[in-house]
């Protein structure tokens, strides 16, 4: 059976994730199916719908900016995925999902063998804060192996604070 690799791409870090996928493909001897995944946060469009709904009495639903925002988000997502496929230089399935980001990513990993995603939190030091809260959820709940990418230079080992017992003056 062909292995399946899901790459979760989002703004800012997708280049590094695509490069990570390329590296993983080289290391694998088989040629797996690759899924490039982008998840639209449906809360953004809904918040704008809500803000327009709060303008009581203005009518004119066709002017609801939530629709424009949601449509523009879909276009931008496809463009990002197309750019990612060009960068990967290999065939890949492009998938756009919408909903709660972390839940959708985990759901998209059903039947996958590997998820590739990026650290998107505080990247100035090694440690748990290098994962944003959505990535934290995804890593904790992924139903497959996870390859976590540092999207830029990896901080040195010196960025880990010393063990409390090893601190100068500690007994």
């Amino acid at each position: 059976m062909t292995a399946r690799v899901v790459a979760w791409l989002s703004e800012g870090t997708w280049h590094a994730v695509v490069d990570g996928v390329a590296t993983a493909l080289e290391a694998m001897n088989s040629s797996p199916e690759v899924v490039l995944l982008y998840v639209l946060d449906s809360q953004v469009g809904e918040a704008v719908h809500g803000a327009f709904g709060g303008l009581l009495g203005r009518g004119m639903r066709e002017r609801d900016p939530g629709t424009a925002v949601t449509d523009a988000g879909r276009v931008a997502a496809s463009e990002l995925l197309e750019a990612a496929r060009r960068r990967l230089g290999a065939s890949a399935e492009l998938v756009v999902r919408a909903g709660r980001i972390e839940r959708e990513v985990v759901a998209a990993c059903a039947g996958a063998d590997l998820l590739v995603c990026a650290r998107d939190g505080d990247r100035s030091r090694l440690g748990p804060h290098s994962l944003g809260h959505q990535t934290r959820f995804v890593v904790d709940h992924a139903p497959c192996a996870v390859l976590l990418i540092w999207p830029d230079a990896v901080p040195g080992l010196g960025s880990i604070p010393p063990h409390p017992e090893d601190r100068p003056g500690a007994h």
């Binding site: 989002s10 703004e11 800012g12 870090t13 997708w14 280049h15 590094a16 490069d19 946060d41 449906s42 809360q43 953004v44 809904e46 918040a47 704008v48 719908h49 809500g50 803000a51 327009f52 709904g53 709060g54 303008l55 009581l56 009495g57 203005r58 009518g59 004119m60 639903r61 002017r63 900016p65 424009a68 925002v69 523009a72 988000g73 931008a76 750019a83 909903g99 709660r100 998107d120 939190g121 505080d122 990247r123 944003g132 809260h133 959505q134 999207p151 830029d152 230079a153």
Partner: protein, 435 residues
């Protein structure tokens, strides 16, 4: 002729019907379709006397005219390319840095809301900001949420910033300039609170992009620049007209002209130019003045007068502080904020004005405005009623509940209200308390 409990019950039922209809908009029918008959019933049954109804219309007249002029002004600024230019400029000045973009979006949303009203920020600025953030390869959420939040919380500065302010403006007895002077500090205080909370709340989304993405982004930008039209030239004429309109607002109190005429003149100047250039049509212009919305405001005013003119007005009035002490201001702001969240800030303002009486202390009216303007961010749709209704819809259409947005509001609104009231109290004390 109804009076007492009967009148109160009828008025409340009609108000509920009008608001429900405005929220649901069945078959896309205009809100006035139910509000106007409801106002007629109020008068026919004698809940509000014809004289009183006429007085309401006369009081609301300049306000509604003002509203129409500001809506047209924002529309014409958009037609002249101001928002396209603004989006391009925000993108360029941000240099792709999310924190810098957030700062710029805050400045833009605060100024647009103050000068062209919250409608302009929600309808015209928000989509532009979304496209700008996405075009830069940044996460759009903090920037879009900043627009929706500031449309409410930054709408306290000028009488024109929010319909709530316009409705209350004459009740304050202040000139345009005095209003702005007292609201300047609260406006800044609330925006500062929003900014600090946003920086913390969205810290994950606001981290600088990794180097690879930035260099790639620049390459992409360079490629796209060749295809894409450059940022259009700044719409100088629009800025001149808006600047002159603002100056006119400031001077209106000194020369004794109603500021509504200044707004009409500003809108007229832009309209003549756009009409001669064939960018707009006269029917289009009339549509943008939202005549049905104006009618809705008149009718809502009469229905609310029916609610506040009987027992409920006195009951609420007994609850309201009457002295502009710090506790008094805070109390009024909190009650106004709660009311705005239960119904919507438009009827909430009309109710509060009715309850505050004919000659309220201007400080209390300003505190009420801070409450009805900042408060709606607690429920992202501006009222609990709308929120509940959207939950009913959500079970059918799978629209998400915005837990994140609600948490954001739960952080910014109480602190924002407190900061705004402290700033107002400080200004009033400094200004001699308007005693």
């Amino acid at each position: 002729m109804l009076s007492g409990v009967g009148a109160e019950v009828l008025a409340l039922a009609l108000l509920a019907g009008v608001l429900l209809f405005a929220m649901l908009q069945p078959r896309g029918l205009p809100e006035a379709a139910v509000a106007v008959p409801a106002a007629a019933i109020i008068v026919v049954f004698g809940v509000v006397s014809p004289t009183e109804a006429l007085r309401q219309i006369q009081t609301l007249g300049p306000t509604v005219g003002f509203l129409a002029a500001i809506l047209v002004l924002a529309y014409l600024a958009d037609v002249a390319g101001m928002f396209t230019w603004l989006g391009g400029s925000l993108g360029k000045l941000s240099a792709g840095q999310p924190v810098r973009l957030l700062g710029l979006v805050f400045a833009a949303a605060a100024v647009i809301t103050a000068v062209l009203s919250l409608d302009a920020t929600v309808v015209l600025l928000t989509p532009v900001v979304f496209r700008t953030a996405v075009g830069l390869g940044l996460r759009a959420k903090p920037h879009v949420y900043a627009c929706t939040h500031l449309a409410n919380s930054a709408s306290t500065l000028l009488p024109v910033s929010n319909l709530t302010n316009l409705l209350a403006f004459s009740a304050t007895g202040l000139s345009f300039l005095q209003f702005a002077a007292f609201m300047g500090l609260p406006w800044l205080a609330v925006i500062a609170v929003e900014y600090v909370v946003f920086r913390w709340f969205f810290r994950d989304d606001l981290r600088p992009a990794p180097v690879a993405a930035r260099t790639d982004g620049r390459q992409q930008e360079a490629e796209q620049d060749e295809e894409r039209a450059p940022i259009p030239a700044p719409p100088v004429f629009v800025f001149v007209v808006l600047g002159a309109t603002l100056l006119g607002f400031g001077a209106s109190g000194l020369v004794g002209i109603e500021p509504v005429w200044v707004a009409v003149a500003g809108a007229g100047a832009l309209a003549v130019r756009s009409l001669t250039r064939g960018e707009i049509t006269v029917p289009g212009l009339v549509r943008e003045a939202s005549p049905l919305f104006c009618l809705f405001v008149f009718a809502l005013g009469i229905v609310v007068a029916g609610v506040t003119g009987h027992g409920m007005g006195r009951a609420l009035g007994a609850m309201l502080p009457t002295e502009p002490t710090f506790a008094g201001l805070l109390g009024v702001a909190l009650i106004a904020a709660v009311l705005a969240n239960v119904v919507n800030n438009l009827p909430a303002t009309l109710v509060m004005l009715g309850v505050l009486g004919l000659d309220p202390h201007p400080g209390l009216v300003l505190a009420m405005l801070i409450g009805v303007n900042v408060g709606p961010n607690l429920t992202y749709v501006g009222s609990l009623a709308t929120l509940l209704w959207r939950r009913v819809l959500a079970s059918r259409e799978a629209a998400p509940t915005l837990t994140e947005f609600l948490r954001l509001g739960a952080l910014t609104v109480p602190i924002g209200l407190l900061a705004g009231v402290i700033a107002l109290w400080f200004g009033l004390t400094l200004g001699g308390g308007l005693q």
